[in-house]
């Protein structure tokens, strides 16, 4: 177990060191995402910044930003390592390989959190978005991120086997912006789209976060209404499916000898 945790912390440390090399790229992403939010909220507000709409939009957009960084980051990261030849070297560890991936994703989440905090700070100060923060939002955010991790594991598994999936990852992260209720609440969607949206990884999380942060609901009331239960179910399903699919993909990649291919 000591080896597993050493591998985990080692992986997190490495990813952060490498990310630091790309700090200007990351900063430009923060700027880009901030500018897009300002533009999107201006358009959705039909030429003005509506404070109530801004809060709704802000929560969805920030959760989507997490999704964007982890989805693109993990698939690019695995592909880049396969291309560089270091992916196979990372498998030369006595620790279980899932700890390496977990380390990779936790580092990605840490980097994403720093970027989200920076973007949020700028947006909150710039647009004076009314938002009453609550500790109850934290477990909901963590649950949402757990589901997102599961979803990223599925894409990570696909990357191990097929490698060239950045296009698909890009398409998915953009689709998530429009069909998960990031921009508009799912309740405004047509029935079939709302049903589809609820099967996606961040939709339920965004909804529960809005209930807590905007409507002032408690965790117990969101549990009673079923929305929190939906989020728990969604996250557990994605996390379990992601884990299984990743292990299976790893097995396939080793069987096909494509672990280091690109």
């Amino acid at each position: 177990m000591k080896i597993a945790f050493l591998a985990l912390s080692n992986e997190i440390h490495k990813r952060i060191l490498i990310a630091w090399n790309y700090k200007f790229n990351l900063m430009s992403q923060v700027v880009l995402v901030t500018v897009i939010f300002v533009g999107a909220s201006f358009l959705l507000g039909k030429g003005q910044f509506n404070p109530n709409q801004l809060s709704t939009l802000f929560i969805g957009y920030i959760v989507w930003f997490y999704a964007r960084i982890t989805i693109m980051g993990t698939s690019m990261d695995l592909k880049d390592e396969a291309e560089a030849g270091t992916l196979e070297q990372t498998y030369m560890t006595p620790a279980p390989s899932e700890f390496l991936l977990l380390g990779r994703m936790l580092a990605m989440l840490f980097i994403a959190t720093v970027m989200v905090l920076l973007a949020s700070l700028v947006l909150l100060l710039l647009l004076h978005i009314p938002l009453s923060l609550s500790w109850a939002a934290l477990p909901v955010l963590l649950l949402t991120l757990a589901g997102l991790l599961g979803f990223t594991l599925i894409l990570g598994g696909a990357t191990l086997v097929y490698k060239q999936i950045e296009g698909l990852a890009d398409l998915i992260q953009n689709l998530l912006l429009f069909v998960t209720g990031s921009l508009l609440p799912v309740t405004d969607f047509p029935g079939w789209l709302a049903t589809l949206a609820r099967t996606l990884p961040i939709t339920e999380g965004i909804e529960v976060l809005r209930q807590i942060l905007l409507q002032g609901q408690s965790l117990s009331s969101t549990w009673s209404s079923g929305s929190l239960r939906g989020l728990v179910l969604n996250s557990v399903v994605y996390l379990s499916a992601g884990w299984l699919i990743f292990k299976w993909s790893e097995h396939i990649a080793k069987k096909q000898g494509t672990l280091g291919h690109y």
Binding site: N10, I18, T90, Y91, H251
Partner: protein
């Protein structure tokens, strides 16, 4: 740092190892076909073969990076399939290609990362990393990122990363590929030092047969996934020596007047004509000498010669191809 092996005499035991792939056209490719070999501890073992012979697949199966279709690999007595964790600790590997290490990290960061990856940490790891970087004369540049290093320096760091946990077995897949002469020399010195001074087992694959001949105690040659030779270098070099001759006469190539000398290779050097190659029996040798006498070319010397590894390699591959063709003919006549 690394636990003692279970069987100290055999570093690697490969038994009936096979790897087959299904292509997109649904045909089956046998990358490695029923391979069995044993690598004694403390030797430099060369695994040679043309492109696509199955060398890299074999190395990766030894490391557990490719799952074999059948067969078993033991590394210092640990089964790679069932005791992966213990087996991996025995191995340091530099895989084929230019980037086994992180170019965005410094040499120091790379060494610490790969050490921790293998479960070593703290002061012992830092001391070992320092020792390796000093020995490789990279200590002064330890805080520079590897993208600023030359290819030779990067390869040194890759080897240092493979050695950072002091494993008893080192696998080097094409370690001198793309290196300049000076960097290749440093690499060769290191390989010899690892085996002779530190008692490590080194398995290396290479296309550069002169390097294999210079370094290896034992050579295995693979062809189309199969083992066509596995012998100590000295025995391998003697394999065809009885059949090979070198005849030197005074003159130049024009003096031969298109005379035929079977399979002998003919070259001209400093006013001499040198004929080299396999001569099956004494009668043929005398026949060639008589022909040279008829051409009035003064005989300078006749001697048996040791073939070099390259000639043996080519000969074995030719024999292997012929064997396959014979088998094909037998099979087609049976069918």
């Amino acid at each position: 740092m690394i636990p003692f092996s279970r069987f100290p005499t055999a570093a690697i035991e490969v038994t009936s190892l096979s790897k087959t792939y299904r292509t997109r056209q649904r045909s089956i490719v046998r990358a490695v076909d029923n391979l069995s070999l044993s690598v004694p501890a403390g030797q430099i073992f060369g695994l040679l073969g043309a492109n696509g012979a199955g060398k890299t697949t074999t190395i990766k199966m030894i490391c557990g990076l490719i799952t074999p279709t059948s067969g078993r690999v033991l590394v210092n007595g640990y089964d790679v399939a069932h005791e992966r964790s213990a087996a991996i600790r025995q191995i340091g590997v530099v895989l084929e290609g230019t980037r086994n290490v992180y170019w965005r990290l410094t040499a120091w960061e790379n060494l610490l990362y790969f050490g921790r990856l293998k479960g070593v940490s703290g002061q012992p790891l830092k001391a070992r990393a320092e020792q390796l970087l000093r020995e490789l004369q990279l200590w002064e540049q330890r805080n520079d990122t590897l993208r600023t290093y030359s290819r030779g320096m990067q390869q040194k760091v890759a080897i240092a990363c493979a050695l950072v946990t002091d494993p008893p077995l080192i696998l080097l897949d094409e370690p001198t590929l793309g290196l300049d002469v000076q960097a290749a020399c440093v690499m060769k010195e290191w390989v010899i030092k690892l085996a002779q001074e530190q008692g490590k087992t080194v398995v290396l694959t290479t296309h550069q047969l002169d390097i294999a001949q210079e370094l290896c105690d034992r050579i295995a040659i693979m062809h189309k996934g199969q083992l066509v030779a596995d012998q100590p270098l000295s025995e391998l070099l003697h394999l065809f020596s009885q059949e090979r001759y070198q005849i030197r006469v005074k003159g130049n190539l024009a003096d031969l007047r298109a005379a035929c000398f079977g399979n002998l290779t003919v070259r001209s050097e400093h006013g001499e004509v040198i004929l080299t190659g396999a001569i099956a029996d004494q009668a043929t040798l005398y026949h060639y000498l008589t022909r040279l006498q008829d051409l009035s070319l003064p005989l300078l010397s006749v001697r048996r010669v040791e073939p070099d590894l390259e000639e043996i390699f080519m000969e074995l591959l030719t024999r292997s191809e012929k064997g396959e063709q014979r088998e094909d003919r037998v099979l087609s006549s049976v069918q």
